[in-house]
Symmetry: none
Subunit: 230 residues, 2 copies
DNA sequence: AAGGGTCTTTACGCATTCTTTATGCCCTGG
DNA sequence: CCAGGGCATAAAGAATGCGTAAAGACCCTT
């Protein structure tokens, strides 16, 4: 929420991209660009933007098609741009999953206001993310709540930060450097010592045994990972 | 979502209301109407609509004002109608919390498509209770009233703002930065001190004990949260 | 102009958390 | 077999954050 929002602009016209890039950057947004529909879809998967600005008049594929393919796996808010003002097209785009529709030419102030409006309601979509569960263990990232066998587990800041980091990518190994950078900051990437202590604390609170782990698995020399959820 | 959606139309012109009522009813929506801003706010609290259609040109009060008052306690999507196409007004409305802005005259198909888009992206926004209760404690966000065991509790502005913020997302942790930004403004996000004092006051008035909390739970180093409602 | 209520500022005791320091274990490779 | 690096755990001292109280500043009403 307080994080800087990332926006993806999909438009084939360089001057429009430039115009939008400058306008949006000046507002503090991070801007990612794509010139074609295919590239746009790839960037949407890669950069995980908080909002997509999509021009319907793309050279390689129909804008509607981009929208439908995007909606198959993402709920990110989409603001559609188009020169054509045909009502039928607006209806089609909105029903294909667009969240707003702006006709070119448009006022930049109105455009920015609509971006703000879409971003404002977006965190609710992100907050509905499901809480991953690992057998008796659940890590609710939205509510910042960890439960074991239905009982809430009290974790300190660092302990929760560690577990949340691991739970964000279940089953995947997170390197020590990654964990140290995210929890202690980039100045402590060499203090792998800290990490072991916090891991020990979390394990203790979860009743986990390092030699026969139920939850946190040590990858020697690399990092840690959480067992994959069911 | 599969439930029939209820829409609230706030407009002083009977012919527009009739036009919208017929159009929306034919789509299967339930339609509630209000002719004035005051009536609209009352209906919003009473009927708990899933979407509000608001005309800015109301006789009794400024549309912007209606919007702001509504936003104090409700996150329901709002679609604003207006004859004026001034960009400044659009920006104002969108920044006051409107989710979309349509200029009259408009095509009914586009209007209905925008209604569908808004209902689609915010299915849970309207589901939040305006008067959640936490055992003996109730926080009525619409009437700005807090009662404990049926007795009204007198809270100061900041005290109420804090409790309202917490009650908007029951059971969820609200970070100190979030609370400070919303209550004191973005310039005081570091004065976590203020927060403790107001929390202490609210707890005192609610007869709450920090070490064995009935209502407000401290998440050390992070923020506060209200116990989940029953 | 006085008064009450609200907000801000300042101060301090206390608990928890974080950091530091120390020690023993296990596995691996020479 | 032994040496060494990485891992786990324990227990201190240091630092930070929380809760409470109280006094002064501010604001609004009367």
């Amino acid at each position: 929420m307080s994080q800087i929002a990332t926006l993806l602009v999909i438009d084939d016209e360089p001057q429009i991209r430039k115009f939008l890039r400058i306008s949006l950057s000046s507002q503090g947004y991070k801007v990612v660009e794509a010139a074609t529909g295919a590239e746009g879809l790839a960037q949407a998967a890669l950069a995980r933007p908080d909002l997509v600005v999509l021009d319907l008049g793309l050279p390689d594929m129909d804008g509607q098609q981009v929208l439908r393919e995007l909606r198959e796996w993402s709920a990110v808010p989409v603001l559609v741009l188009s020169v054509r003002a045909s009502e039928v097209q607006k209806v089609e785009a909105l029903d294909s999953g667009a969240n707003d529709y702006v006709t070119k030419p448009f006022g930049i102030q109105e455009f920015l206001a609509r971006v703000r409006a879409l971003l404002r309601q977006a965190p609710q979509a992100a907050a509905t993310d499901v809480a991953p569960s690992f057998g008796p263990l659940t890590v609710d990232l939205a509510f910042r709540k960890v439960t074991l066998d239905g009982v809430e587990v009290a974790l300190t800041r660092k302990e929760y930060a560690l577990l949340a980091q691991l739970a964000t990518y279940p089953g995947r190994v997170i390197t020590q450097q990654q964990l140290l950078k995210d929890i202690w900051g980039p100045t402590h990437v060499d203090d792998s010592h800290y990490l072991r202590i916090v891991v020990a604390h979390v394990r203790q609170k979860l009743g986990d045994d390092p030699t026969a782990p139920r939850f946190i698995i040590t990858e020697p020399g690399v990092g840690y990972r959480l067992v994959a959820p069911e």
